[in-house]
Amino acid sequence: MSIQKYFSPQRFINYFKYDLRLNVKTYLFFCVGIAIILFCANFFALNQTSTSRGFLKRDYQPLFFVTFTLCSIVAIGTSFPSLRNKKDSSHYLLLPASVFEKFLTQFLIRIVVFTAFFYILFWLEFKFTTAIYQSIEWKNTLTVKSFDLATPFSDLTRTLDLLAVLFGIFSIATFLLMGAAYFKKYALFKTILAFGLLIGLFFLTMVVGSHMFYPEKTQEFFSIKIDTYKISENLHNVQMYIYIVVTAASLFFLPITYFKLKEKQV
């Protein structure tokens, strides 16, 4: 079996360059857009903070995760833009690169590069916004802690928790990528809807589990009482369930994306 038909470094470089050169304006526009949105979000968050309390880590972390989630939805959910209509799809599928190279290009640009870019940009933007805010609001001095790059994850002291969060983020990112390859029209909307259905399914399994295993505690139909069980001192069964689900999900969303792209017909 020749690996050349799946991956050739030179062909991949050519294709990667092609993608960057073709979409350079879109990517730059997106970067500038994120920078503006982050500035506004940070400014708003700082403005809403009481000067007596100051801006703390517990304010910084949710701000990071909320903006990261929203920007990820746009950045990753709009992957494979050429698959939205027949004309563009034909052109895209016939470009002389392997399916894996096309998939890898989107994965690298939309997930790896975007995540790294956002992570650094958020940190820089927050520092920049704070400086601007403090120069404008110099009369009402707001104390802002000095946050570093690791601050968003600094509360996750246990390796298992950190891995669970990282795998969770990766799973959601790969789910968005899969949705973009799977759905043709209104892919972003359909992906979010599908994600909502998955969350609903998860909730339903918890409800069913509660009724099955803890019928005496579960009085109302939609109440979840399953989280009462502890596997060990610091590990609930639901935590364990979530860890397994997010880890496993991240492993199969990527292959599904690849095979969906491979089987695409116009």
């Binding site: 038909k5 360059k17 092609y18 073709l22 016939l94 089987e263």
Partner: protein, 273 residues
């Protein structure tokens, strides 16, 4: 080059378009794929390009199965669709971005064809006319030097001078190891360039012959009255008489009238060659 064995295909929730279709074609020719609307010409080109997958049967192009979209296969095939996708780029930028993807791309050939078509490198592809876009894509397709060129209605949108340039450029650009498959219903536009005729009807290939074989055996003549000629194979009324297909007599060859031949075959006329 093209080996299609027992191909069966239907679009989703539609009746079978091709049923056990078998078709072989070697390189070194410009083949006209003719058929009525909905006969399956564009679908067949898409199947050859790997954009659609057969339900049954096998397609091999240069030894590759198109549905697998092997990159080596893709770098040696180019499909010019009726409505080509063109990004918002100038011709020069397009060439800089796309040409490196095709290993045999010939920039000299490209600039020569572009000049013939009177296009400029600084022109933006999304702001030129449909005909100019078509000319650009044809020029690009020919310059890739792909072994298989699939042209779907290439003359649609071209003005009269451009059609003639297209024919000239096509004949001069195609090499012996290439195969050009042109799907069209505007048969007059390609009459002088094709050297093989394939006619599809109801998902079957009903006629498949080299043009020289046709001209060796058939004559295409304009006659005043059909009563005065006895061996008419097929005729159609036209201003001033009839266009007729006759068997060749005295080795006298005439120019092929593909439209007449196509109409004869569509009207189930038996043509023995």
């Amino acid at each position: 080059m093209i080996e299609t064995k027992n191909l069966t295909f239907n679009h989703k929730k539609q009746k079978t378009l091709f049923n056990n279709l078998t078709y072989m074609q070697d390189s070194g020719s410009i083949t006209g794929l003719l058929g009525k609307n909905g006969a399956g010409k564009s679908t067949l080109l898409k199947l050859f390009a790997g954009l659609l997958h057969p339900k049954k049967g096998e397609i091999l192009i240069n030894g590759y199965t198109p549905a697998y979209r092997n990159p080596d296969f893709l770098s040696d095939i180019f499909l010019v669709s009726d409505e080509p996708y063109l990004p918002s780029l100038t011709i020069n930028s397009y060439l800089n971005i796309y040409a490196p993807l095709y290993k045999n791309f010939d920039r000299e050939k490209m600039s020569k064809i572009i000049n013939e078509f009177e296009l400029l490198g600084s022109q933006k592809l999304d702001s030129i006319s449909h005909g100019q876009q078509k000319k650009f894509v044809i020029a690009f397709a020919l310059s890739t030097n792909c072994k298989l060129l699939l042209l779907d209605e290439p003359t649609n949108g071209l003005d009269i001078p451009s059609k003639s340039i297209f024919r000239k450029v096509l004949i001069s650009s195609v090499e012996e190891d290439q195969l050009v498959l042109i799907s069209t219903h505007q048969v007059k536009d390609i009459e002088t360039v094709i050297d093989r005729i394939v006619i599809i009807e109801d998902g079957n290939i009903v006629f498949e012959k080299d043009t020289h074989v046709v001209t060796e055996k058939l004559q295409f003549q304009k006659i005043e009255s059909i009563t005065e000629v006895s061996k008419i194979i097929y005729s159609e009324k036209c201003p001033g008489g009839y266009n007729a297909i006759l068997p060749v007599e005295n080795n006298e060859e005439t120019e092929i009238d593909i439209e007449l031949l196509f109409n004869a075959i569509s009207n189930k006329t038996e043509i023995k060659l």
